[in-house]
Amino acid sequence: MSDFAGMEELLQDFLVEAGDLLSGVDNKLVDLERAPDDRSLLNDIFRGFHTIKGGAGFLNATELVTLCHLTENLFDKLRNGELEITPEAMDVILAATAGVRDMFGFLEQGVQPQPADPALIGNLRQALAGELGAGGAAAPSPVPAPAPVVATPAGSEPDWNLLFNAVTGLPVAVEAAAAAAPARSSEEVIEHAIGRRATDKPGSTAPVGRRDTEKARDNTIRVDTARLDQVLNLSGEIGLTKNRLNALRSDILNGLNDTETLHALDVAVSQLDLLVSDLQNAVMKTRMQPIGRLFQKYPRIARDLARNLGKDVELVLAGEETEIDKTMIEDLSDPIIHLIRNAVDHGVESAAERRASGKPEKSIVRLEARQEGDHILIMVADDGHGMNAEKLRAKAVEKGLITDEEANTMDERQSYNLVFLPGFSTAAQVSDVSGRGVGMDVVRTNIQKLNGSIEIRSQLGKGTTFIISLPLTLAILPVLLVRLGEQPFAVPLSMVREILPIEAQHIQEVGGRATMVVRGEVLPILTLATMLGWPQERPPEYGVLMHTAELSFILAIDSFAGREDAVIKSLDDFRPKGVAGVTTLSNGQIVLILDMKELLGNAGEFRGVSRSVLLQGGAALPATV
């Protein structure tokens, strides 16, 4: 049951906006540690708490108001130079911020937050009194304590001038009336002037919402109205074009087929074409959010972690304005946290090691996003000691994740990718931060769920970079259409590197499997027919060079039919293995979109076929023998 019946919408708005504010405050706190005297930073942080307090008051969240109020008062004194920031004060402030975030957690569940830790409140009060660590000082009472009861006789609105005189006693506009306002009653006058009454129950008249969400968040999205206007405008245009087409249809049905009519039809259809793709784009854009909203919570995490580990690490953000599909932002949150933890914990050396190797003591971890073509790249780069391929392989062998033989054939890139294997952890000692070996494999799985890939680049002594590559949107997938006999299949274009003819004289047999050498690299040939369990009726004519995180191979097919931007329709109840979904081609034909990773798993350890089987065609499946 929610404590916020009737206020759900207000609560949601508040959580989204106040959440952003708090993340901003968190980042500014990290900045503040470097520039403790920056007045404008102090001001901004003050305002952040102040604004959150104001909103919380309307939600009746008394405990949140109390906590924000104390923190705000502390910043008021800091910005006025009455107090100075000490490391102890900074710790209290950071703890208070964490407390506020915890309370947001309660609010998200639709529950009034519990009172903050009394120790925290005590510390805040001591900090306020300028005697942190000393005994309990007289602290200001937390603000919206139950409002004092003030009688409100009709027509007793104070005269503002009178009030002014009453509370200041300044001889401004002295009139006889001034004398009538004894100082003792000035509090009462103020109490009255600000109009708080005992009967005020802020929640009772809040906007009414009908949604009975238990978890009050994230089903909504904030969209720039300009973008919505564009959608509206385009759908209007499409409506007009539809009318035009309707008119043309009746003309044509009535036997009109002169050049003029046909030309008009042509124009209308191409216009519709353009408008629809514009509309698709515009709709997609409404789901796009700047990734900065996700990034801004990381500097604080990195800072806390580095401090725990006794390292000096600065997280540098870049490309925060890069836009990405909202659902992806949510799913990326945990993988990025993991990569940052990993960079701070394992990637970056201790200060002593850095000094020894002549590096600046402070290490930089860079979190960057940018758009490249139809992909978004997110990079987490550290300037630490880099990865040692040799050690990684040894570790994997030791853990029994790979065999000696496999280890010997691995190049650097493949060795780095070992960290993604379940059960692999490079830290000799498991820390409480990262290093349980559950994580990197989950990171990769999560990224792959988003149709993305993750890649590692590393240079010994220089640092390691994790590169996540994601499609711009999940709704549209560029595919390559390949054919097996007459049947077309779609494979994700993101995996395709090139298309080559398969010629008998270029096929060699290595270990009983057909392979082809492409620019010095020996690649296995896998036939699509075998993968699907179809008979291979004739020798394949083309090969598609495909590339996944684990391996590169050549997919043998009969022919191909070009590329298309597929709108994926998932098969909800019925999902054959190896099929990611279906799409409809321009000619109305339905095509299966293949899930290559699943097919590869099916193909049993990249099982290839022998050269003779490949070239003979007609040879049946392994079952024959």
Binding site: L10, H50, G57, F58, N60, W160, I194, R196, D200, A206
Partner: protein, 133 residues
Amino acid sequence: MADPKTKFLVVDDFSTMRRIVRNLLKELGYTNVDEAEDGAVALQKLNSAQFDFVVTDWNMPNMDGLTLLQTIRQTPHLKHLPVLMITAEAKKENIIAAAQAGASGYIVKPFTSATMAEKLEKIFEKMGKGAVA
């Protein structure tokens, strides 16, 4: 009795708060409401269109509510505008500063539509009197 034509400008940097104030005003029958996210934007709007009433937050970036109030009072064609300050500050100094700058009223967050109605009524009443006197 609320004149729905009265045009309000609600100034606050926190959009949730603007929405709260807008909803409260709507409850009271005032539907002609525009918003501004800080004092500077508010001044622009006040200078480019006709408003009858300003409801402003105190603490905002760029230009705060007090400066906005002072500017309004110093601008000949705006100085007659009623300005209601809404803030979370219940401190004496703040109330004095607001009074000194010529605020028509002062409400401390959180408040209800009843409080708001009462405040508005008082202000309108006084304005009426002022016009006669």
